[in-house]
């Protein structure tokens, strides 16, 4: 044992003998982590977690599968689960954590949670999502806000408009931007992007309580109500502010239209910041962020988390270490700076973050206390995948159809919510 220790470089010598014993015992323990953080910035940020693990002597087997906002990764996860060989941890979020929990496949993290005081550390809304059957089964890594409006200040200036704060202002600003020769609203015509815009419009039209009834509780009365029809009509009107070529466009192309000054604004979650940052732009100066018009008092959240699968022995120790380290300030800061989101624990120093992120955290805490904090339907936080998919179908079909009445879409929405149950 000693000779082994001596061969270590100086820094390692500082560790106590006890630690080195623990180290050698844990050396074999590895976690295999399935995730879809594959872009350069994301990968570098996630790497911080890997390094923290390795510093404690645990191995990290990286199992990255990109594609379709995690769709491909989930397919792989299901096939791994079918073969009786799931990874030790996987990026699973929202209600899907409950589905995996119901299948009895998830491990529990209560020991870590207690030792680290997660109950106090995590906001109650976040903590609830991480628990199945009263036990922690997942650890949150960040909180994205979905209801953001991004804008190019030069375009706004050229059109002589301010950042819109209501839907009416959005439409009138859009008109002015178009007259100034720009595309008012950059958008990509993919189902999830349509749904992202739709839920922000619904939130603005009906408020967070109505949002909760309609898209979280799936109350048929709310889904088929006048307000829903109104939200759908407003949503469809937004098409007038978009360009004709949007079908199938990736969201980041839409963002780059804002960056290049071809388009004025974009409704998109805060991961859009990654694009602005990559273009070396500064928040508040080169680009503007504000809550989606009419949703200042609401916060649609999208939380990434790592759920752990049931394993035994040393792998379990490594799993627990992973859960503990995922909330380490150094990782939370690095990761969220790269992702554009805010840390999952609100007690961190935010001085490194830009003003959008700081506003995001303020709004998060404000809405958590006063109400208005709602899960994002478009990003799989509100309802299960089957209902979400059925709603996507209605929303995107209505948005792209030439002649579908909003009443008809609302009726289909009611059916979608019921059929999938």
């Amino acid at each position: 044992m000693m000779s082994f220790n001596i061969s270590f470089p100086k820094t390692a010598l500082a560790t106590t003998l006890a630690a080195s014993l623990a180290l050698s015992a844990a050396q074999a323990a590895e976690v295999e982590v399935l995730h879809w953080w594959t872009s350069g910035g994301e990968a570098r940020a996630a790497n911080v977690l890997k390094e923290l693990m390795e510093a404690e002597g645990y191995g990290w087997e990286d199992f990255a599968v990109a594609g379709g906002g995690g769709e491909t990764a989930m397919t792989v996860l299901k096939s791994r689960a079918m073969s009786g060989n799931p990874p030790s941890a996987a990026q699973i979020k929202g209600p899907e954590i409950q589905e995996w929990g119901e299948l009895g496949l998830l491990g529990e993290l209560d020991e870590v949670a207690e030792a680290e005081g997660w109950d106090d550390l995590l906001p109650p809304t976040v903590a609830e999502i991480m628990r199945h059957d009263g036990s922690y089964v997942a650890v949150p890594v960040n909180v994205h806000r979905v209801n953001w409006l991004w804008a190019n200040p030069e375009v706004l200036e050229a059109a002589g408009v301010e950042m819109p704060t209501t839907l009416d202002e959005l439409f009138s600003a859009g008109e002015a931007i178009r007259e100034a020769g720009f595309i008012p609203l950059a958008h990509g015509g993919q189902a999830w992007q349509d749904a992202t815009v739709f839920e922000s419009v619904l939130l603005a039209t009906g408020g967070s309580e109505f949002y909760q009834h309609a898209l979280v509780d799936l109350d048929p009365e709310a889904l088929g109500s006048e307000r829903m029809v109104e939200a759908l009509e407003t949503f469809k009107r937004l098409r007038e502010l978009m360009d004709d070529d949007m079908s199938g466009r990736d969201w980041n192309i839409a963002t780059s239209m804002v960056i290049n000054g071809d388009a004025g604004m974009q409704l998109m979650g805060d991961w859009a910041k990654g694009e602005f940052t990559a273009a070396e732009l500064t928040a508040g100066e080169d680009y503007l962020c504000a809550a989606a018009p009419g949703t200042q008092d609401a916060f649609t959240f999208n939380i990434d988390s790592l759920a752990v699968f049931r394993v035994e022995g040393e792998e379990r120790d490594a799993q627990h270490a992973l859960a503990r380290l995922a909330l380490e300030p150094i990782f939370q800061e690095a990761f969220n700076l790269a992702k554009g989101s805010i840390p999952a624990r609100p007690d961190l120093d935010m001085s490194e973050f830009d003003q959008c992120a700081q506003q995001s955290l303020d709004d998060f805490q404000r809405t958590a206390n006063e109400g208005g904090l709602v899960p994002s339907m478009a990003h799989g936080m509100a309802v299960r995948a089957d209902v979400q998919g059925a709603i996507f179908d209605v929303v995107t079909n209505y948005f792209n159809a030439r002649d579908m009445a909003a009443e008809e879409a609302a009726r289909r929405m009611v059916n979608a919510a019921q059929a999938a149950l």
């Binding site: 397919t75 589905e99 015509g189 949007m246 199938g248 995107t396």
Partner: protein, 310 residues
């Protein structure tokens, strides 16, 4: 691929005579085939049966065995998106197979006219088959996008009114799938036909020429009928590509605008995997396979029956 009918070969001897080499020799061919048959029975037919059973259950995220009868099929029938996907497959599959056959045959006939640089041209026609749509999907998406690709380019050359916006038109998006799919597979069909043309016995053609038949009529009346077995192989390969088209849709249109360019394969995948409705996804898979059977079995039967080679 086999052209025995037109290759003017001597008549083939009929089947094998039983030779006195013992029981093992008699059984060896079947023994050799046995693993493949077992594999087919288990991995193809067994999995189909399993999928059928799942289609009768309410399986969600992972398979479960709570039987619900034919409820999933009823839901499927009531699903607007499924009907869009199915009719798209008919349009896409039909056009794709027809255009590939026509274009492949045309290029093969043209290439067969003592062309300089034939090898280079052939490689150029053939190479798309080597690439997967994970690779080429992005490029096609660019090319077909009105604001980025061909439309923008042609307008840039001064034709301001040029329009090519099928990709963003719900009624036309499915045809963009045809374009990209034809691009990928037609060269391969060309190779099949070219091989077929080269295999035709020259004496048949000489005879037709001596009869004073014109060139088009020689092709129409003598050559093309001889290519029938090639058409068979090509149709098999093309329909398999059409039915399995998945990467293409995902990469090019993502099923959009809306779900206007969805195909059954993407429908099945979206429901069984992304949307945690394995029961419904399995039902759609069964209907898809049923459709394949309904179209292919009669064709296969008539071809194998009429052309008992060898």
């Amino acid at each position: 691929m086999s052209l025995s009918r037109c290759a003017a070969k001597p008549a083939a001897a009929t089947g094998s005579r039983r030779s006195p080499s013992g029981l093992l020799q008699a059984w060896l061919p079947k023994l050799v085939l046995a693993p493949s048959i077992a594999i087919s029975l288990f991995f193809v037919y067994g999995f189909m049966l399993w999928t059928f059973i799942l289609s009768l259950t309410g399986s969600r995220m992972l398979p479960s065995y709570d039987f619900v009868g034919f409820a999933q099929y009823a839901r499927l029938m009531a699903n607007d998106r499924w009907w869009v996907a199915s009719s798209n497959l008919v349009i896409f599959g039909g056009l794709f197979v027809a255009i590939c056959l026509a274009l492949g045959l045309l290029l093969a006939i043209l290439l067969d006219q003592r062309i300089r640089q034939e090898g280079a041209l052939r490689t150029v026609y053939l190479y798309p088959m080597a690439l997967s749509f994970i690779v080429t999907g992005v490029v096609w998406k660019w090319l077909l996008n009105p604001g980025l690709g061909i439309q923008a380019m042609v307008r840039g050359w001064g034709f301001e009114n040029f329009r090519f916006d099928w990709l963003v038109d719900p009624d036309m998006a499915v045809y963009t799938l045809v374009i990209a799919a034809v691009w990928q597979a037609s060269g391969f069909v060309m190779a099949l036909f070219l091989a077929g043309l080269r295999g035709i016995d020259d004496s048949i053609l000489k005879a037709a020429q001596l009869d004073g038949a014109s060139l088009p009529s020689i092709y129409w009346r003598v050559v093309i009928p001889c290519l029938r077995p090639v058409v068979f192989s090509a149709v098999m390969i093309l329909s398999h590509i059409a039915i399995k088209s998945f990467d293409l849709v995902v990469a090019l249109t993502g099923g959009g605008p809306g779900y206007a360019s969805d195909l059954p394969a993407t429908f099945m995948y979206a429901h069984a995997f992304t949307r945690a409705q394995i029961g419904l996804g399995s039902a759609s898979a069964m209907l898809m396979l049923g459709g394949v059977l309904a179209i292919l079995v009669p064709y296969l039967y008539s071809e194998l029956r009429n052309h008992r080679h060898g």
